[in-house]
């Protein structure tokens, strides 16, 4: 979570900061000589120890039975079904939270509701809660003894609800600051040019929110791909039905199939990486336009 939050933060600041006009030279002077070398080596060492080497090790392990071994490990019926469930439910969850997260951010910024501050605090709860607690809470409400009479335990719907819960904050928290910064005079200008509320939303507000929505959605997607704690209780981990990829990885490790676990992990890694790179390109594109 910590790493995803940092990525989100960087994304928002990228979106929020207007790009410097091309003619003006940067006011921040670059470090020279020693200072620059120390800074760079410090960052590279830290990133290597914390991120790059462990990830490289996973990719390395995934190839320990050769490329064909890798392909075999990720195409066994169980691995394939678990990856399919994880990717499909992540897409669904990201899509739902893109819409709902944006709606919530809108209400928090634009509607002067009573109890808005309380709602605002509530959004952070899935961030703060240990995910296993989230799983337990969901199982209590939507499990076999549901006081609402809604039993989602051991079903794919349960997995989706758990993922919705833990990924809710991403879109809200990326869209919210952008909405707060959004110049309402743009909307007034559009109105004076003859645009009704619907046209203003589609042509002015939505395009300005879109990069932030995409950033939040990508983070929610990446997080869904990797989620373990919140789904493990409610899903029941039934192979071919409700078992998500991270649980599959865990099971493979338990049965000493390190190469198989690494292979599925590598697929998760690649999909997340592709999504995050796509997000970064989108933000660069948006930042260029200001």
């Amino acid at each position: 979570m910590a790493s995803s939050t940092t990525v989100g933060g960087a994304g928002v600041s990228l979106l929020g900061a207007p790009p410097a006009p091309p003619a003006t030279p940067s006011r921040r002077r670059p470090l020279h000589g020693k200072g620059k070398a120390i800074g760079l080596s410090l960052v590279m060492t830290y990133l290597s120890i914390i991120v790059l080497i462990p990830l490289a090790a996973v990719v390395w392990h995934s190839q320990s039975n050769g490329f064909s071994g890798f392909v075999h490990a990720v195409t066994t019926p169980e691995a394939a079904s678990t990856l399919k469930l994880t990717i499909y439910s992540s897409i669904l969850v990201a899509a739902i939270n893109m819409v709902m997260g944006t709606a919530i951010a809108w209400v928090l910024v634009r509607d002067k509701l009573p109890g808005r501050t309380f709602l605002d605090t509530l959004i952070d709860l899935p961030f703060a809660l240990p995910t296993i607690v989230a799983g337990l809470a969901l199982l209590t409400v939507y499990g076999p003894n549901s006081p609402l009479g809604v039993n989602l335990a051991y079903q794919r719907a349960g997995v989706v609800v758990a993922l919705l819960f833990v990924t809710l904050p991403f879109v809200v928290r990326t869209v919210q600051p952008v909405l707060m910064e959004l110049d309402t005079e743009m909307e007034q200008a559009a109105a004076s040019l003859g645009a009704g509320p619907g046209t203003i939303f589609v042509r002015i507000i939505l395009p300005n929110m879109f990069p932030a929505m995409a950033a939040g959605t990508a983070l929610a997607f990446a997080r869904s791909m990797s989620e373990f704690g919140s789904t493990v209780l409610i899903s029941g981990n039934i192979p071919f039905q409700t078992q998500v990829a991270s649980v599959h990885v865990y099971n493979q490790l338990e049965s000493d199939n390190v190469a198989g676990a690494a292979a599925v992990s590598t697929v998760l890694l690649i999909v997340s990486l592709v999504v995050l790179v796509a997000l970064d390109m989108l933000q660069r594109w948006a930042a260029r336009r200001g």
């Binding site: 006009p21 110049d183 200008a189 003859g194 002015i204 395009p207 300005n208 200001g290």
Partner: protein, 320 residues
């Protein structure tokens, strides 16, 4: 009349922004709403545009009661102090916006946009984004965008307020020329009397949510309705408890009818003008004279002079 505002009231909570405001703006004119900073002028402009709803009163635009019309149906072009550029759209698309949402044919839009880009001298910037433009360029873009839909009236809210002095001066002159070219009824808000005098045909002076006086720049300067208008429109000083323009004081070495004795406390040469600080029985005032008359009078500190108001017959003075 192009715009008629009658008995408009508007308050924000306890603060009365507009009190019984009535203004008539003739078609094709360029009018300034002038007054000290603080609400009233911009609020009036926003009420006319429909961006703010009046608590009571009537707004008529080109003979149509617009009091209850939403902003998008008023046929009003609005230019904001901080440009309100659509920052996700290129300059050309910003200008095209009003036409695009009216679903005009592509060719027509392109023609109109090209015309307007030329009018505001932004031809080379058509494909840039607002973030890549200077403040002055953004404001010209905003103006072109407002003009694209051929509004019945054009409203500008402190259009040059966010620009630096040099650009401001250029744009002022340019707005005047533009108005002479397109003739759309234009109202702009400013707190800068020099700007209002230089650009506008007529000026509406406002203070504390009320209209103080309406007239041409000359009328307001020569015949201000009250002390507020007089002191807001130009320099003033006090002679015998009455407000006077410093250049309307006549200085002489010999006493003349109605003169009072004054002591020169300071003489400051400001190029062609000379500022003379005087004291009459402990009361301070100042006069503005030309360099020539200063030399004729041989002005020096400590000198005793005679002061009176010059006859208010400006035309005669100009002939001699």
């Amino acid at each position: 009349m192009s715009i008629i505002v009658r008995d408009v009231n508007k308050s924000f909570g306890d603060f009365a922004a507009l009190t019984d405001v009535s203004v008539e703006i003739p078609s094709g004119s360029l009018t300034a709403l002038l007054g000290p900073s603080g609400g009233a002028k911009s609020t009036l402009l926003r009420v006319i545009a429909g961006l703010e709803k009046a608590d009571s009163g009537l707004v008529e635009i080109e003979g149509r009661d617009a009091t209850k019309l939403p902003a998008q149906d008023r046929g009003v072009g609005f230019v904001f102090q901080h440009y309100a550029a659509f920052k996700h759209l290129s300059v050309a698309r910003n200008i095209a916006f009003g036409l695009e949402i009216r679903k005009r044919p592509k060719a027509e839009i392109k023609k109109k946009v090209d015309e307007l880009l030329e009018l505001v001298h932004l031809e080379q910037f058509a494909h840039r984004y607002p973030a890549q433009l200077s403040g002055g360029q953004r404001q010209r873009m905003a103006l072109a965008r407002a003009l694209a839909v051929e509004p019945q009236v054009l409203l500008l809210d402190e259009p040059f307020g966010a620009l630096d002095a040099q650009v401001r001066k250029e744009l002022r002159a340019w707005l005047r020329r533009l108005h002479d070219q397109v003739h759309v009824t234009t109202v702009f808000v400013t707190h800068d009397q020099e700007e209002a005098m230089e650009v506008a045909d007529s000026i509406v002076v406002m203070a504390d949510g009320k209209v103080e006086q309406i007239g041409s720049p000359d009328q307001l300067y020569e015949a201000p309705a009250n002390d507020f208008v007089m002191s807001f429109l130009g320099p003033v000083t006090k002679l015998g408890g009455e407000l006077v323009r410093p250049h309307d004081l006549e200085l002489s070495i010999e006493p003349r009818p109605d003169t009072v004795t004054a002591k020169v406390t300071r003489v400051t040469r400001l190029g062609f003008e000379v500022r003379v600080d005087l004291e009459i029985e402990g009361e301070e005032l100042w006069a503005q004279v030309t360099r020539g008359s200063s030399e004729q009078l041989g002005l020096v500190e400590g000198q005793t002079l005679f002061v009176r108001r010059s006859a208010p017959v400006r035309a005669a003075a100009a002939v001699s």
